[in-house]
């Protein structure tokens, strides 16, 4: 059931182009797309009672059972939380996009196909239990996000942003794959649940640490953690609904999800604890520091997202210490951090989603997102102003908004962490509350900038390309719903905690399952304590800094531009390009002869080398059948035709000789009673000769190559080498019986596949996958030939 839900967006993606061509003139295609996430969201609701009682659900779909790779969907508190975020925010984003994306100007079918691909991939990531399947979906999110960022591909910045995000996230994804495979080698399973069962034994394994680091690389790149965060601001080139969806609510949280999912596996380990919490806290500071100086509202939100993701990440790191202690009063102190992480995850999706949408509205209605041009919009766009205020104040951590609650818990988490006495925290523990406090002040400052620079002050209509006014109601509804949640969660946090957060917590900290969660009420008033003092400090210092902003904002210009990670990325990209251009120029000479030399030299090296290395020479001529007169004649004929092809003075003769050689081979197949092969060879030969003759018409004058003797010597060496290798290989292969013969398997072809022709049974049934891929390759080759020849590069300008 749940598997079907994951696949549903993919099926629907196929339908969209047809719907588009049928209905686009009359109706915005988004209305059709909207119902899908809504349906999935509603059907996910039915799992809440199951996860609330601490139960889980699995449903399996066999994929490659012989390799243990199956499409296993696993529903527990954590995956359900993410699934509901993906579909819930997804529905709102699609509703919003209906009003944001113009039906007349945009190529909507592409947009929604990518979006559906992305949604399905994301659901796959959070519900997959099998690490291989998880990886497939993980990379699919990268690819669909690439397509979405480059949606306005006419713009250079969009293309560059898309490339950057893809290079970084796919690099992370690949290292994650390596890490996951290492894990599966250690645990001998691909299932995450089964890995977690073995968690106690893992740290002794030598591969444990490499696996952890590699997986973390994947999680950090995806969640834009420092220093991989540099792709996220550039990803803002995507249309705003996409930014709201992918880059605040879902995709960037995939890394968070992975860290949370694997916490039971790695948690309690000092390296994990330090890496995750340190990277998180540094990202928090880095993001908030950079957000303050942004002039573009969307860029500001991008850095703020980086910073908030860092916050969640550091909480997950700090909370992982709870695993170390198991269940008990001692661990509850840390478990609060996990609770705070999960809580903030939800809150962040609500307020950041609404903020992104409002920024989109401002952009849509005024034509700019530049803070220097905006101002005084409060009276013109009162509803947008209210929503922005709710979102920003929640992000700043002020009551009565949900961000206040989770930020207080965050402070509790870091203050508790400073009192830890494991993993060397007694020495360094203080950095967490201090950094968290500074970052919170900066967060406060940029939230104020966002609200007051945009909506108060002087209105400058001459700076805007459009007259500012409120957007259509439909565009306001989605952010308003999210803003409503921001307030509702503040007043009723414990409903959310009971049904959503506690089950998620249990998934991250399995020891708490028996207790049914943390058992702690979330309340707005939690006494007069350190956390509250910190908040008051944040507000006071933040207000002061905001007032003095023009005086100290100049510090940003002190930092040399050449040392930024962005610059390093650009430089290294250029360097790689020039190196590869140089290398390519060196070996891509344009002569087929040279390429053949590479291919054959490689062949001799690998095949001949391994024959030599593993002492694979085994000649057992005794069992060979005698050579009959027909075969001898055929072989002689083949040798003769080959020689003719080689030494012929005319190209036509050569082509015909090669054709004749092919037909002789097919006759050989007939003699050896392989009619299928013979038939195929005959027809292939016919088609190839026709093809040759066609090409022949276009080829330049035939001329004999006159070249140096030394050159010919290498050629001779290689050709003799290839011939020798192939002969030796064939003889050795015949003389060696490493494995049991497989012919018995094919004798069953009639009972197993109902086919009397074993060749066909093998092709379509026993090795159907090979055939399928072969056919795909053939088709791609055909299209490649077509594109190379038919598609005129200059013709592109016509469009």
């Amino acid at each position: 059931m749940i598997n079907l839900m994951i696949l549903l967006p993919f099926f629907f993606a196929v339908l969209i182009p047809f719907l588009y061509s049928m209905f686009n003139k009359k109706l915005h295609i988004g209305w059709f797309v909207l119902f899908l996430p809504v349906i999935i969201f509603i059907s996910l609701l039915q799992y809440i009672p199951i996860t609330t009682t601490g139960n889980t659900l699995t449903s399996e779909f066999k994929w490659l059972p012989s390799f243990g790779i199956n499409f296993t969907a696993y529903v527990d508190g954590l995956s359900l939380l993410f699934g509901m975020l993906i579909t819930g925010v997804g529905s709102l984003v699609i509703l919003y996009s209906i009003f944001y994306m113009s039906r007349a100007r945009e190529e909507l079918h592409n947009f929604y196909v990518y979006l559906m691909l992305f949604m399905g991939a994301m659901l796959g990531v959070v519900f997959s239990d099998n690490v291989v399947v998880l990886y497939v979906f993980w990379e699919l999110t990268s690819i669909s996000s690439f397509l979405l960022i480059a949606y306005w591909y006419q713009r250079k910045k969009s293309r560059e942003g898309a490339r950057k995000s893809m290079l970084i996230t796919i690099f992370g994804g690949l290292s994650m794959l390596a890490g996951l495979l290492l894990l599966s080698i250690i645990t001998d399973t691909y299932s995450i649940r089964e890995m977690i069962f073995q968690a106690k034994l893992l740290p002794e394994n030598v591969l444990f640490l490499p696996a952890m680091i590699l997986i973390l690389l994947g999680a950090f790149t995806k969640s834009a953690q420092f220093p991989f965060s540099l792709w996220l601001p550039d990803a803002m080139e995507a249309p705003t609904p996409i930014s709201a969806y992918l880059h605040s609510a879902t995709m960037v949280k995939a890394g968070i999800y992975l860290v949370a999912r694997l916490t039971p596996l790695f948690g309690g380990d000092a390296v994990w604890f330090w890496t995750v919490s340190l990277v998180g806290i540094v990202t928090l500071l880095y993001g908030s520091w950079n957000a303050v100086r942004q002039k573009d509202l969307k860029a500001l939100l991008a850095y703020s997202t980086i910073s908030q993701l860092g916050l969640i990440m550091s909480l997950l790191g700090l909370g992982s210490a709870a695993i170390y202690f198991g269940y008990g009063d001692e661990s509850k102190v840390y478990a609060i951090a996990i609770m705070a992480a999960v809580f903030h995850l939800v809150n962040h999706s609500t307020f950041k989603g609404s903020l992104f949408m409002v920024v989109g509205i401002i952009d849509h209605e005024t034509g700019t997102r530049n803070l220097q041009r905006l101002g005084g919009l409060m009276s013109l766009m009162p509803i947008s102003f209210t929503i922005t205020m709710i979102g920003s104040f929640s992000m700043a951590g002020l009551p009565p908004f949900n961000g206040f609650l989770s930020k207080e818990m965050f402070f509790t988490g870091v203050v508790n962490a400073s009192g830890m006495d494991i993993f060397g925290m007694e020495k360094f523990g203080m950095i967490f509350p201090v950094v968290a406090w500074i970052a919170s002040i900066l967060t406060f400052v940029y939230c104020m900038i966002m609200v007051f620079k945009t909506f108060t002050g002087e209105h400058k209509p001459e700076m805007l390309s459009k007259a500012a006014h409120e957007p259509p109601v439909g565009m306001l509804i989605p952010p308003a719903i999210l803003a409503m949640f921001v307030v509702l969660i503040f007043f009723f946090p414990n409903i959310l905690a009971k049904y959503i957060l506690d089950p998620a917590l249990i998934s991250i900290l399995p020891d708490y399952e028996a207790a049914g969660g943390l058992g702690k009420e979330i309340s707005a008033w939690h006494g007069f304590n350190t956390e509250l003092l910190m908040t008051i400090g944040v507000v006071l210092v933040g207000l002061l800094l905001y007032k003095l902003l023009p005086k100290w904002i100049r510090v940003f210009s002190w930092y040399p531009q050449s040392l930024t990670f962005n610059n390093i990325y650009n430089e290294s990209l250029l360097l790689m390009e020039s190196i590869s251009a140089y290398a390519t120029k060196k070996y891509m000479t344009g002569y087929t002869r040279d390429y053949l030399v590479y291919i054959f030299a490689f062949f001799i090296f690998i095949v001949g080398g391994s024959l030599w290395l593993f002492n694979g020479f085994a000649f057992d001529m005794s069992k060979d059948s005698p050579v009959s007169i027909y075969e001898a004649v055929m072989v002689i004929g083949m040798v003769v035709t080959a020689l003719i092809a080689l030494f012929s003075q005319y190209r036509l003769t050569s082509i015909i000789a090669v054709g004749a050689l092919g037909y002789l081979v097919s006759i050989l197949f007939v003699i050896f009673q392989a009619p299928d092969l013979a038939l195929t060879q005959l027809v292939v030969e016919t088609v190839t000769v026709a093809l040759f003759l066609l090409c022949f018409y276009h080829l330049p004058e035939f001329r004999k190559e006159v070249s140096k003797v030394r050159f010919k010597f290498t050629n001779m060496l290689i050709s003799v080498g290839v011939g020798l290798t192939v002969t030796l290989l064939a003889l050795s292969a015949n003389g060696t019986r490493l494995f049991e013969t497989i012919s018995g398997y094919f004798e069953d072809s009639y009972t197993l596949a109902g086919a009397k022709n074993i060749v066909n049974a093998t092709l379509v049934d026993f090795r159907g996958l090979d055939t399928m891929v072969e056919v795909a390759v053939l088709c791609i080759a055909g299209l490649a030939v077509f594109t190379l020849i038919k598609v005129n590069v200059t013709g592109r300008d016509k469009k």
Partner: protein, 140 residues
């Protein structure tokens, strides 16, 4: 391709019929006798190529107004979808099955899902082969 050979044209008109019949027979007999999707498809492709060579591109395009790139794509799609289809029955990817059905004229006939898969293979082969040959032959 501009044809001008009357003899070739006359022979082709007969030959193509024979080749096509033979190819289709090959295709259907593949399950029990030599033949199958690949070879059947290739046979049909070679008949088509012969037609293109003798009758000319424009004439053939009028007779068979199909885009062979699409044919190739549809073929691959069929092959993949038959694989995916096995999920509907809760069996692993690309599982094939077969059964026997009584037809009015043909009598007891074996029907195998492999045939659908083979159709995909055949279409992909036809599409790709003709696309390649046409592209190369029309290059100026």
């Amino acid at each position: 391709m501009k044809p001008n050979d009357i003899l070739l044209t006359a022979v082709t008109k007969v030959a193509v019929l024979i080749i096509l019949t033979f190819s289709i027979d090959l295709f259907f007999s593949g399950h029990h006798n030599p033949g199958g999707g690949f070879i059947g498809g290739l046979g049909i492709a070679s008949a088509l190529v012969l037609m293109y060579l003798t009758l000319g591109t424009e004439a053939v395009n009028k007779i068979i107004p199909v885009d062979f790139k699409t044919v190739a794509a549809i073929g691959v799609l069929i092959a993949i979808l038959t694989g995916v289809g096995s999920f509907l029955f809760g069996v692993p990817f690309l599982s094939q099955t077969y059964g026997y059905v009584d037809f009015p004229i043909l009598g007891k006939t074996e029907l195998a899902t492999a045939l659908i898969f083979d159709t995909g293979v055949a279409l992909a082969v036809i599409g790709s082969a003709v696309t390649i040959i046409l592209s190369i032959s029309e290059d100026r």
